[in-house]
């Protein structure tokens, strides 16, 4: 029993991280149809900024919010200055984001050096709570909580607000949305910034969980892609569902059949795509 509860809890907390990682990317994909290779870079920069700001301010939450906002701002600038120039050409967008990703990677190496950092959260992050005889590390609870809150906010935004309706409309048909008098360029910039914000947020949380070092951007990028591919592009719910499925599969796969642990992420992706090329919740 303890085994199942522990593993399920681990799986859900890992899913939370996967959601933070893939949620932003799926929005960017859905609205902008950009294969954003630089998404891992947002994560990386978020993580490094988080480490620096925690050291400077001593407050994890201040660092978390500030880093996420700075990364979001960076994302907005990137969209406005670079991506807009190559709008509508997915190959050039890919080339551009690849260039930016490489630049950011090398710049981070220059600024922060190559030694890994571990972001120190509040002291209670390294403690656990006991509920009904089971132990739950607080850091993992925080990951689940923050992913849950962010999902709820985004969901409410997308489904209940006017701006969210515009985003949904832009996902389905950008030209039509523009024809309706909605300022799609601003919308795209906002969505890109939002996606960056989520990735930067994930970077700070992730650094507390698993440290940060050069090259992590390209290490985690496949995970973000897997979440998007399985969940379906542009679907927040899909990203959440995919993250949960993958997180749990990965966890139980590792624990029960360590032999196949390399395929617990990629195999589901292959299976899903074979039956639903647009992902679980994607629309063609």
């Amino acid at each position: 029993m303890e085994f199942w509860v522990n593993q399920a809890f681990n799986g859900v907390s890992y899913a939370a991280l996967l959601f933070l990682l893939g949620g932003g990317l799926t929005l960017i994909f859905g609205v902008m149809k950009v294969v954003n290779i630089a998404h891992g870079s947002f994560y990386l920069v978020g993580g490094y900024l988080g480490v620096a700001l925690v050291a400077a301010t001593g407050n994890f939450y201040v660092a978390l919010l500030a880093s996420a906002l700075v990364v979001a701002l960076g994302g907005a600038v990137l969209e406005r200055v670079f991506l807009r120039a190559v709008e509508g050409d997915d190959l050039r967008q890919m080339l551009l984001t690849m260039g930016i990703a490489l630049f950011v990677q090398d710049a981070c190496l220059l600024v922060w050096g190559g030694d890994p950092f571990n972001l120190r959260g509040p002291a209670y992050f390294s403690q656990s709570v006991k509920v009904a005889g089971f132990t739950f590390p607080i850091l993992r609870l925080f990951m689940i909580g923050s992913a849950g809150v962010l999902f709820a906010v985004l969901w409410w935004f997308q489904e209940r607000t006017r701006a969210g309706a515009m985003v949904r409309a832009a996902v389905d048909n950008a030209e039509m949305t523009e024809a309706l008098g909605i300022n799609v360029p601003i919308l795209r910039m906002a969505v890109f910034a939002l996606g960056a914000l989520l990735a930067g947020f994930a970077g700070v949380v992730g650094s507390a969980f698993m440290g940060i070092y050069p090259g992590l951007d390209f290490e985690i990028l496949p995970y973000a892609f897997v979440v998007v591919i399985v969940g379906g592009m542009g679907s927040l719910g899909g990203a959440l569902a995919a993250a949960l499925v993958l997180g749990l599969l990965d966890n139980f796969g590792k624990a029960l059949f360590p032999e196949i642990s390399y395929f617990t992420l990629f195999a589901p992706m292959g299976i899903v795509l074979a039956f639903r090329p647009t992902g679980l919740f994607g629309r063609a």
């Binding site: 571990n118 440290g211 050069p214 624990a255």
Partner: protein, 413 residues
């Protein structure tokens, strides 16, 4: 006219005869090619390697036996293919006399045939993988760093005799280093009477060690941890959070608590035992001097292992060049001398290599402690002059297959 020709010939002859006696400083520099990662995930290792290697060269003013040393650095990049291309460049374009460096085992395996074909000596200063100096040993290759099986043997002996472990669970990275340390450990440990009751192979990129730690068998007396790099921070952190480190000892392979990781590991790693041929806290005059000097270069409190062993590698190479009087062009003699060269004291202790080209050196058992505000790997035990073949007969040892995922098989799992 004829007279002039004769004179000219005599002069030429004289020049040819006298040339070797001329001051050696007039000779062209000795070129050493050095391949280390300067970009990507392992860039810091590469920079540390270079810092150590160059520190020694600068101490001798880049001059050995009257000849200047020219160090040509190349980026190993993220892939072995890159290392191969750079090795070809160093050999064919720069015409180096010796090649050094290499971090990744895969890169070393890929480069080895290239240097062998060109008959250029290669001194590996980090890359660890048994067969490079065992079943695939080459007379052009020497290694003055470390290797997996050798470290596993020491750990197996220490775990059984000193820690009194009888049942062990292993968490190891699923690639050469993990397989070889585990294999060496298991062989020695089980021959003494112990049992490896669980082997968990973790993918090289493992973001979450939670599931592995939760499935560790509780009846194990201790845990062998063969996870390195940034992943080590995650595993040790997880072992601490799950309470395993409070109940059991963890014996980890060397670089799991490398000095460069100590600040990030922090309190989580306190008490973790490791085995490695060096420690920043090693209390010898040579090491203290080295640590103080390298700190002036790096301006950091923590000095990485790769810097220290590369300093030693540079000492060893330089000594060999000194012994051949700078005549590195005589390849056969140079390489024979290189293989026979001994350093009595370096930051890590004495250095010499066996007839397969692998280093014989001290391996230290270290414990992570906090002294004042700084963490350190305190040396608590020493295995002197360890051979890569442990106490086995090399010929018989080499008849067995290399340590792998399933060799030795896990009989007690």
């Amino acid at each position: 006219m004829k007279k002039h020709l004769v004179l000219a010939l005599v002069a030429l002859f004289a020049a040819a005869v006298l040339a070797p006696a001329a001051p050696a400083a007039d000779k062209p520099p000795i070129k050493i090619g050095f391949i280390v990662p300067k970009t990507g995930n392992f860039a810091q290792f590469g920079i540390d390697m270079l810092n150590g290697f160059k520190l020694y060269l600068s101490e001798i003013d880049y001059t050995i036996a009257g000849r200047k040393i020219e160090l040509i650095e190349e980026d190993e990049g993220a892939t072995p293919a890159n290392a191969v291309t750079k090795a070809r460049k160093l050999i064919q374009h720069d015409k180096v006399h010796l090649m050094g460096g290499l971090l990744m085992a895969a890169a070393a395996y890929a480069v080895a045939p290239v240097v062998q074909e060109a008959e250029v000596p290669l001194v590996i200063t980090v890359a660890a993988s048994d067969d490079l100096t065992q079943r695939k040993a080459s007379k052009y290759l020497a290694r003055v760093s470390l290797t997996g099986g050798e470290h596993g043997h020491v750990a197996g002996d220490y775990a059984y005799r000193k820690l009194g472990w009888r049942k062990v669970a292993v968490v190891a990275m699923d690639y050469g280093w993990g397989h070889e340390v585990t294999g060496g450990f298991q062989r020695v440990f089980e021959e003494l009477g112990g049992q490896v009751i669980q082997k968990i192979w973790t993918p090289v990129i493992t973001t979450d060690f939670g599931p592995y730690v939760a499935s560790l068998k509780p009846e194990a007396d201790g845990i062998l941890d063969v996870v390195t790099g940034a992943a080590s921070i995650r595993l040790i952190g997880e072992l601490r959070k799950a309470g395993v480190l409070d109940k059991k000892k963890v014996l980890a392979a060397g670089t799991a608590t490398d000095e460069t990781l100590l600040p990030a590991l922090g309190d989580t790693a306190l008490g973790v035992l490791t085995f490695l041929p060096w420690s920043q806290a090693l209390d010898t005059p040579e090491n203290k001097r080295f640590v103080q000097r390298i700190k002036q270069v790096t301006k950091k409190d923590y000095v990485g292992f790769s810097g220290a062993i590369n300093y030693g590698a540079a000492m060893w190479i330089a000594e060999a060049i000194r012994q051949v009087g700078g005549d590195v062009e005589n390849k056969e003699k140079f390489f024979k001398t290189l293989r026979a060269t001994e350093i009595k004291s370096s930051p890590r202790g004495p250095i010499k290599v066996d007839k397969y080209g692998h280093i014989i050196q001290n391996i230290y058992i270290r414990r992570v402690d906090k002294v004042g505000s700084l963490y350190q790997n305190t040396v608590i035990d020493t295995y002197p002059a360890v051979s890569q073949f442990w106490k086995y007969n090399p010929e018989e040892y080499l008849k067995q297959p290399i340590y792998s995922r399933d060799n030795p098989p896990c009989k007690h799992c």
